[in-house]
């Protein structure tokens, strides 16, 4: 019997099977203007003052044995292996804790040192199992390496429970293994108590979840109060696993698959931090993801999502065959790529012929690469011939684009993440980095532990407000919807108390707009006292925070602002972004290291998708479509005439669908049916369309309304680039073939060709070359350069450093003079009433990502298996609601039911939930209230009532039926093929 022929796919650019061996320098790098020169093993070595002897030696290529030292952590000096001799000094100091000094003469090898080290290793191994050949760390075990290095041939005390001279020593070999964490195991029997895991948890991650319990021989690593990992405060970032020199903490994927054979450096596809990872591989199988120390966004750290939650890429729910159907009530039919693409193209052309060119459009993906996003907007503008293109940034950071564009001249964060190391005061507004941008949160907490001051502006008591060794100096716990009142009140204090950096404003900013703004914010009605009733924040707190921010906490201090969707997703989102920019300019806090205005981007490539011309009014590089010169360049390059009018935004497309003037939509890697507000409105709009084409990994919520399904590819299956919140462009590298045979950019290209608009790119590198040729801020970007430098930051062109621009607006703002705008507070339309007396605000959790399509298909759901409603004990008691009860949440838009989490994290009058599970229906409740400038939905403010209920809401019951039905229609398509294949097999047997 012949097996059905499987297509064979080859990599376009197969990575070299070389392992990115990273050198461990033993102790962290030291930055100093002063250098010292010393002699190590007869070689003259020069290092920055303050560098350890260990690092000085390793930098010079001289290896020093070590176990407790690693360059991610401060030196500890406990393992006694890195001992050295220094001429003229007594004893054998640890090289990790001894600083290099000028003129020292150091020896790292001598018979005496060798003997001491061997003695230390004997003691270590006397309490360690000798199962090396079957141990998961075999091939990656520093203890084994050191045993080899010191020439250990015998353990005089016996190993583990061996009996020597009739005696057997105490040991830990029978310790119980903790396998509670789904991603790694803790085997205490292999622990050498080097403290690297405990220190990684403290110094790198900042969770302080691990400690060493017991003393002397009893010492063991202990999560929390000697709890299993899963019951402790551990957030599963994996820094401890990475730090462990033995198999004590090891990834379950390594236990299962064995050691990886090669690695490829790539970029994480989760949040906007854009961490760099080594995908450690065996053939086309990912064995583990290890954060890359040379990655500038994360410098060797990661969170639970990036390091562990990549299993979705090969999940059984992946759809790998194109499918079509006439109506959304029909079963899906698996078809060839050609048939699916021809059908989609035919439908779009038919709709345009009947209803006009502008009756179709598309949505680019902030999860896809720059090249893919560029290609989708190109297809829409050039092949569809309309500007009806938008991206999911519409519903997250579009106000950032508008606000920073108006004030500074371009839509981008001003700093690198590393810049926070220079900040003296950090103001976090409407962001919860511990959950949403965890690797940045770790950097921030480290800076706070070093003494920087912290101001948090958030309606909730987020983790940063009060966590181990991190406390907010000011928490402005405002009422949701009052951001603009608070930012204007802060500005009022700065102006009326003489805290403006007048020299900076005079030199850098537009004077007329400044005078206008100054007069506006100085009005008595904008004082903290006057706005206290609106914001709920005591005036004294506002005044204290304003003074701290304006002064940077000390003479010449640096204050930096980091903000998130709690700023943008409001009816006044753009006004708030402008207010933040006003404040930063007035205080002279833009244009150098340690200051700045930094949007924390939601999805991995939100920055990139905006840069790539995904907004309906802008061509790549934020240039308005009405600009004749710019348009002419694109028209010449693309060989078409472009429409000079702005196109529809996502909410406008949905409204127009209900009007009947918008009937066809191409959606790449987004899920508006789950992620966009007022779900019932979205569902009605999608249902009204004649052709919805969804390109995705899974049958997502939007695909349930689709007529054509084109299988997408994960970040592991394609080449390209992502741009993170620092404007850093990093490579995404293919490590496995696309499961469906085509990377996303190839699908878009094939669709363009089917539409009769030719595209013939052979590799995403050519797409980037086109972007660079057409976009001045990208002119210096190329794959060759990224390969050479690791990453580049736009603007990157002739006028910048080779690697682009780390800090923006250094001497002047992109627009020339920074411009101020008055920021009048206007109350949201979502007002509390007797019928809807509470305000619902929304957010996210660490373990889940956005609509959850990826993370829900991993073990991450063990941390968060359902969305819950946080409600203050006072509001809960009033409604007879107890922790864990089912509660109905009703708004003007709809009603859903969740379980209650009674907690003081929320203030009275405010409830909170997340939107990671479609059945939660968080967006059934959110309304179509939106930002005035960009129509970014007001997810953060919805007036609701909460009551105890005993059954799911009507919407949820309907959703469950609809969803079951749609899954059945999918199963029919897949079952149908199985039946066909079965028939073929029967034929073959005959």
């Amino acid at each position: 019997m012949n097996a059905p022929a499987q297509p064979i796919h080859f990599f376009r650019a197969r990575p070299l099977p070389a392992r990115h061996a990273e050198c461990d320098h033993g102790t962290p790098a030291v930055v100093s203007d002063e250098g010292v020169t010393l002699t190590i093993d007869g070689f003259e070595v020069s290092v920055p003052k303050g560098t350890s002897l260990m690092r000085a030696a390793i930098d010079a290529g001289i290896q020093v044995p070590k176990l407790c030292a690693t360059d991610m952590l401060d030196p500890f000096g406990s393992c006694r292996l890195c001992l050295v001799e220094i001429e003229g000094r007594r004893g054998t100091p640890a090289s990790c804790t001894t600083p290099a000094e000028a003129g020292l003469v150091v020896r790292t090898q001598s018979p005496k040192l060798q003997q001491l080290r061997r003695g230390v290793m004997e003691l270590y191994l006397s309490d360690h199992p000798l199962d090396c050949l079957t141990c998961a760390a075999n091939g990656d075990c520093e203890l084994q390496d050191m045993a080899g290095v010191v020439g250990l041939r015998n353990v005089r005390y016996g190993v583990g429970d061996q009996v020597v001279a009739g005696r057997s020593g105490r040991h830990h070999l029978d310790s119980q293994k903790d396998e509670s964490n789904p991603y790694f195991t803790y085997d205490a029997s292999k622990c050498i108590v080097c403290n690297r895991c405990v220190r990684a948890c403290e110094e790198v991650q900042g969770s302080f979840a691990l400690t060493i319990s017991g003393r002397g021989f009893e010492s063991r690593v202990s999560p929390g109060m000697s709890e299993p990992f899963m019951q402790s405060e551990c957030v599963s970032c994996g820094a401890c696993v990475q730090a462990c020199p033995t198999a004590t903490l090891v990834e379950k994927s390594v236990i299962e698959a064995g050691q990886p054979e090669f690695s490829v450096v790539t970029t994480c596809a989760y949040c906007g931090v854009g961490c760099s990872f080594k995908a450690e591989m065996k053939g086309t199988q990912v064995v583990r993801m290890v954060p890359w120390k040379d990655g500038k966004a994360n410098e060797g750290h990661s969170c639970i999502k990036g390091r562990f939650a990549w299993g979705y890429a090969t999940h059984r729910d992946r759809i790998t065959k194109p499918m079509i159907r006439e109506k959304i009530t029909d079963p899906w039919r698996e078809v060839s790529w050609e048939e699916a693409l021809a059908h989609a193209a035919g439908e779009f052309r038919r709709i345009q012929a009947t209803h006009g060119r502008d009756s179709v459009g598309g949505i680019t993906s902030s999860r896809c690469t720059n090249e893919e996003t560029y290609l989708v907007q190109k297809l829409i503008r050039a092949a569809f011939g309309t500007n009806n293109v938008d991206t999911c940034a519409r519903v997250c950071h579009s106000p950032t684009g508008y606000g920073l564009g108006q004030t500074f001249g371009t839509s981008a964060g001003t700093q690198t993440f590393k810049s926070v190391e220079q900040a003296d005061v950090v103001m976090v507004i409407g962001a919860n980095p511990s959950e949403g941008h965890p690797v940045f949160a770790s950097r921030l907490k480290k800076r706070i532990r070093q003494g920087a001051k912290l101001i948090v502006i958030d309606p909730r008591r987020i983790e940063l407000v009060d966590s181990p060794h991190v406390h907010a100096d000011f928490h402005l716990q405002l009422k949701p919807g009052s951001n603009v009142a608070v930012i204007t009140a802060l500005a009022h204090v700065v102006v009326t108390e003489g805290l403006v950096d007048a020299a900076y404003v005079a030199e850098r900013c537009d004077d007329a707009s400044y005078q206008q703004w100054r007069a506006f914010v100085a009005k008595p009605e904008n004082s903290p006292e006057a706005l206290e009733a609106v914001s709920g924040v005591p005036a004294a707190t506002v005044r204290g925070a304003a003074r701290l921010y304006a002064t940077g906490g000390k003479a010449g201090g640096n204050s930096a602002i980091y903000y998130g969707l709690g700023v943008t997703e409001h009816a006044q989102g753009s006004t708030m972004v402008i207010g933040i920019a006003n404040l930063a300019m007035a205080c002279g806090m833009v244009g150098r290291e340690g200051v700045g205005v930094n949007p924390l981007r939601g999805q991995n490539n939100v920055q990139g998708s905006c840069d790539m011309g995904s907004f309906p009014h802008e061509l790549p590089g934020y240039r308005h479509i009405s600009d004749t010169t710019v348009r002419a360049q694109f028209e010449a390059a693309w060989g078409v005439t472009l429409n000079p009018e702005p196109g529809l935004r996502i909410p406008n497309m949905l409204d127009a669908a209900l009007d009947g003037s918008f009937r066809g939509l191409y959606v790449q890697g987004e899920d508006p049916a789950q992620s966009d507000p007022n779900t019932q409105h979205v569902a009605a709009a999608l249902s009204a369309m004649e052709c919805v084409v969804v390109q995705d990994l899974f049958l997502n919520e939007t695909a349930k309304y689709a007529h054509v399904f084109l299988p997408g590819s994960s970040f592991l299956e394609k080449d390209g680039t992502f741009t993170n919140a620092e404007r850093r462009i990093s490579r995404v590298r293919q490590v496995m073939p696309p499961l469906a045979g085509k990377a996303d950019w190839e699908v878009t290209q094939a669709l363009a060709n089917a539409l009769g608009y030719p595209m013939a790119y052979q590799h995403p590198e050519q797409i980037m070359a086109e972007i660079a040729a057409l976009t001045p801020s990208f002119a210096g970007v190329s794959y060759e350069k990224i390969e050479r430098l690791g990453s580049v930051q736009w603007p990157c062109n002739e006028g910048t450093d080779e690697a682009g621009t780390a800090t923006m607006h250094i001497e002047r703002f992109v627009r020339g003079k920074g411009r101020f705008f008055p920021t009048q507070y206007v109350a949201s339309e979502e007002k509390v009433t007797r019928r809807f007396p509470l305000i619902l605000t929304t957010g996210r959790v660490l373990s889940q990502y956005n609509v959850g399509a990826q993370t829900r298909r991993t073990e991450n759901s063990r941390w968060h298996e359902e969305d819950r409603l946080e409600i203050h004990p006072h509001d809960a008691e009033e409604r007879g609601v107890k922790h864990g009860d089912w509660v109905g949440i009703a708004s003007r838009a709809g009603e859903t039911v969740l379980r209650a989490d009674v907690t003081e994290r929320v203030q009275p009058g405010v409830v909170y939930t997340t939107f990671h599970f479609p059945e939660s229906g968080a967006n059934v409740i959110t309304t179509d209230s939106s930002d005035w400038a960009t129509n970014c939905p007001e997810y953060k403010v919805t007036a609701v009532q909460v009551s105890k209920v005993s059954q799911l809401s009507e919407w949820q019951q309907g959703y469950a039926r609809f969803s079951r039905n749609q899954e059945g229609l999918l199963a029919q398509a897949q079952g149908q093929v199985q039946v066909q294949q079965g028939a073929q097999a029967t034929e073959a047997v005959k």
Binding site: G356, R357, S626, E645, P822, S930, W932
Partner: protein, 89 residues
């Protein structure tokens, strides 16, 4: 085809008025009008601008529109009102 059949003119009125609320804070009235006009021109797709004028010219006579929006729409009609609906191909 008919692109100007928005079932609910109140959506357009709401969106338009919200823009006005931002620019109304300008002390100079001309700047406020310019701000609103420029915003509508730069960010509103033609069919939305057509809906605005249809509401303004129709029986409702722009009911619900704020003074600033009504004034801007009328004063800047030449640049804001799109030509007739675009051709189908």
């Amino acid at each position: 085809m008919s692109a100007v059949t928005h079932s609910d003119p109140q959506t357009i009125v709401r969106l338009a008025n919200r823009i006005g609320e931002f620019f109304a804070a300008y002390p100079c009235h001309d700047e406020a009008v310019e701000g609103v006009a420029s915003h509508l021109r730069k960010f509103w797709e033609p069919r939305m601008r057509r809906q605005l004028y249809a509401h303004l010219d129709g029986a409702a006579q722009g009911e619900g529109l704020s003074e600033l929006l009504r004034e801007t729409a009328l004063a800047r009609r030449a640049e804001l009102e799109p030509a007739a609906a675009p051709p189908t191909r």
